[in-house]
Amino acid sequence: MVERKIRVLVAKPGLDGHDRGAKIVARALRDAGMEVIYTGLHQTADMIVEAAIQEDVDVVGLSLLSGAHMTLFVDVAKLLKKKGLGEVLIIGGGIIPEEDVPKLQKEGISAVFGPGTPTEKIVEYIEQNVKR
């Protein structure tokens, strides 16, 4: 039996248009053999969770550089849980102050990758932590 590829949704919540990081991560994950779905910009929590359900993903990667992560990442994490997708691995990236990281982890965003992170570190993290 062929092993199912890890399925990842890369999402841009809110109004932030900085998509360089999200696109680089999407490509790197694809090159590492994962199935990547990129939502595009300006997604609400509802849209992201709906896409996660439709695409049956194992991982949701959220990218935000506007500073609204404490609201928007948490919105997505809560809604995923509410819709019964508590098993989905949630990771985040962007301009996120160190002091916000533990707070995000408490809300279910298991890891945060800031500027300067090598892409293979994200690949590795997903491979080791995906639950399925």
């Binding site: 998509d19 360089r20 999200a22 680089i24 595009g40 500073g67 609204a68 892409t119």
Partner: protein
């Protein structure tokens, strides 16, 4: 530029030098890399000589500052006459907090203002709109109405100081806030100076804060050109920006080619409307990035000026002022590292120096902590001091275009110009700028360059100090800017009060007039100003245009 005999001798002696000195040395001690290349992947040779610029004509291609083709600078005296404007991009939280930051910056010797708006404002939403959730004041100041603009500039002499506003989709409305505020303070439209970014093409290409589809967006921009040239003559009605293209991951050559190409597209649209090129072209301004490769950046600015001058002349400009490219520069935000943030001060210094040697008219230097959060007061002050040290202590401003005539810089300037024309040929084949956007050409080119750059860092082919080499294990100890948590509440209260206190019938009437004009083809600026004067909010005014024009959605390409 050199006589034939001399060139032949140079060529001969260079060959001998290679054979006798260079080749034997590298046979014993190979160079550090097999291939040296800049950030645009152009190969750089070990040495440049007159041979490399022999095809250039001094009078036609190099010339004098303040003279066509403006390669050496747009003014005859450049920074000897007047320093560049030190203009730090700033804005966060509420209008009150940002007003305080502006006063702080002006107190410390800043010479121009530059407004950063928050995301809801950039998308034409008021603070109380559902899409604004979580974004209030986060990466800029929230401005939902003329009321907020009044507070933002309270106590600031807007008749004396110029203001740049980074606003694109809703630029005509936010500009109208600024004009209306000036008028209410008794300052006439023709006395205020500044810039609105108003460059929608690079939004589709890179920065992505667009609202309407391309055609109505271009119409709005030409409206501002027309209105500005008649009534607000000291205002730069556009700042054609490569900055964001570069931040999205482009190379320097892509930044140059796409930005100047966008500029020409705007000129064509305005001429098609019937505007006289010499009426509006003098108010077109540019905005570039200053990244890490020192000489490449300098060559980029010089090439940009020469290409613009040549192309505007071809398009029929007669006034020298229409052909000279004035530009603002910001050091590269994307080059800042979250690791060892203090060393960003050094990066910013090198980048700022490139911008100044490249002949910039104004400059923003980034703060060391911006890969972590919005900059603290101290970090901003150091960034500003960096400019002041270059200006006052380094001596680089004592002569004009000191790198002019450098074999390497002149060769690279020319090389970047040629690569630009090659990009333009590709865009032309795709059916022009708008068509290339719709086909995702720019987006793909930039994403590919960004990925390549990241891979080079991931594989240590490119070293970034503190990130993939020279690392130190230390916790980052940078104070993070704290915002007033009551700001959002205060802002929403102000909006509610505004909507109660104003003459709502008048607001409705003005919005209806705007809708009619938008549905037709008249210039929308006067109607927008009427809306704004009657305290229609940004969201309300923008919604009228959203209803008429619809919204743009981009294909998600990665």
């Amino acid at each position: 530029m050199f006589d034939k005999k001399e060139l032949e001798q140079i060529k001969k002696e260079k060959e001998e030098w290679m054979k006798e000195y260079y080749d034997p040395l590298i046979a014993k001690h190979p160079e550090r890399k097999k291939r040296f290349e800049n950030l645009s992947n152009t190969e750089i040779k070990q040495l440049y000589t007159p041979e490399d610029i022999a095809h250039l004509d001094f009078f036609k291609d190099i010339g004098f500052p303040g003279n066509h083709p403006f390669l050496r600078g747009v003014h005859a005296t450049m920074h000897r006459g007047r320093l560049w404007t030190m203009r730090q991009f700033a804005g966060f939280g509420s209008a009150e907090e940002t007003n305080q930051r502006y006063k702080y910056l002006l107190d410390h010797g800043e010479t121009g203002l530059s407004v950063a708006f928050d995301y809801p404002t950039l998308y034409g939403y008021d603070t109380d709109h559902p899409m604004s959730r979580g974004e209030f004041g986060k990466c800029g100041v929230a401005i939902s109405s003329l009321k907020d603009m009044e507070i933002l500039f309270d106590g600031i002499p807007i008749d004396k100081i110029t203001t740049s506003m980074t606003i694109n989709g809703p630029a005509p409305i936010v500009w109208a806030f600024y004009i209306a505020n000036a008028e209410n303070r008794g300052i006439s439209k023709d006395a205020i100076g500044g810039t609105i970014q108003n460059d929608i093409l690079k939004e589709y290409i890179a920065q992505k804060s667009y609202i309407f589809p391309p055609e109505p967006s271009m119409r709005l921009i030409v409206d501002t050109f027309e209105y500005g040239s008649k009534y607000v003559p000291r205002w730069n009605t556009i700042s054609i920006s490569g900055y964001h293209i570069r931040e999205a991951g482009s190379t320097a050559v892509q930044e140059l080619a796409f930005t100047v190409g966008d500029g020409i597209e705007y000129v064509k649209w305005a001429m098609e409307r019937g505007l006289n090129i010499d009426d509006f072209a003098p108010r077109l301004s540019f905005f570039f990035n200053a990244h890490n490769d020192f000489f490449e950046e300098i060559a980029k600015y010089r090439a940009a000026r020469r290409i613009w001058a040549k192309e505007l002349k071809k398009l029929g400009a007669k006034k020298p002022r229409s052909m000279l490219m004035r530009f603002h520069t910001q050091t590269a935000g994307c080059s800042l590292t979250a690791q060892q943030p203090e060393i960003n001060i050094v990066r910013v210094t090198i980048q700022a120096l490139a911008a100044i040697l490249g002949g910039t008219q104004s400059l923003h230097t980034n703060s060391m902590d911006e890969a972590l959060a919005l900059p603290s007061e101290k970090a901003v002050r150091i960034a500003l001091r960096t400019q002041q040290i270059i200006a006052e202590e380094s001596g680089v401003t004592d002569t004009i275009d000191p790198l002019g005539g450098s074999y390497y810089v002149e060769w690279l300037t020319n090389e970047m110009e040629e690569q630009t024309y090659r990009y333009w040929d590709r865009v032309e084949k795709l059916g022009g700028v708008l068509s290339a956007i719709e086909k995702g050409f720019y987006q793909r080119e930039i994403a590919a360059a960004a990925y390549k750059y990241q891979k080079e860092i991931d594989t240590n082919k490119r070293i970034i100090v503190g990130v993939n080499d020279y690392k130190t294990e230390e916790t980052v100890d940078i104070p993070i800017l704290k915002m007033d948590e009551k700001g959002e509440e205060r802002q929403i209260k102000r909006l509610n009060k505004l909507k109660k206190d104003r003459n709502n019938q008048k607001v409705q009437r003005n919005l209806d007039v705007l809708r009619k004009i938008a549905e037709g083809n008249g210039n929308m600026m006067p109607a927008i100003l009427d809306c704004v004067h009657s305290y229609a909010t940004l969201g309300e005014t923008c919604q009228v245009l959203r209803d008429v024009f619809g919204e743009y959605e981009e294909p998600a390409i990665y």
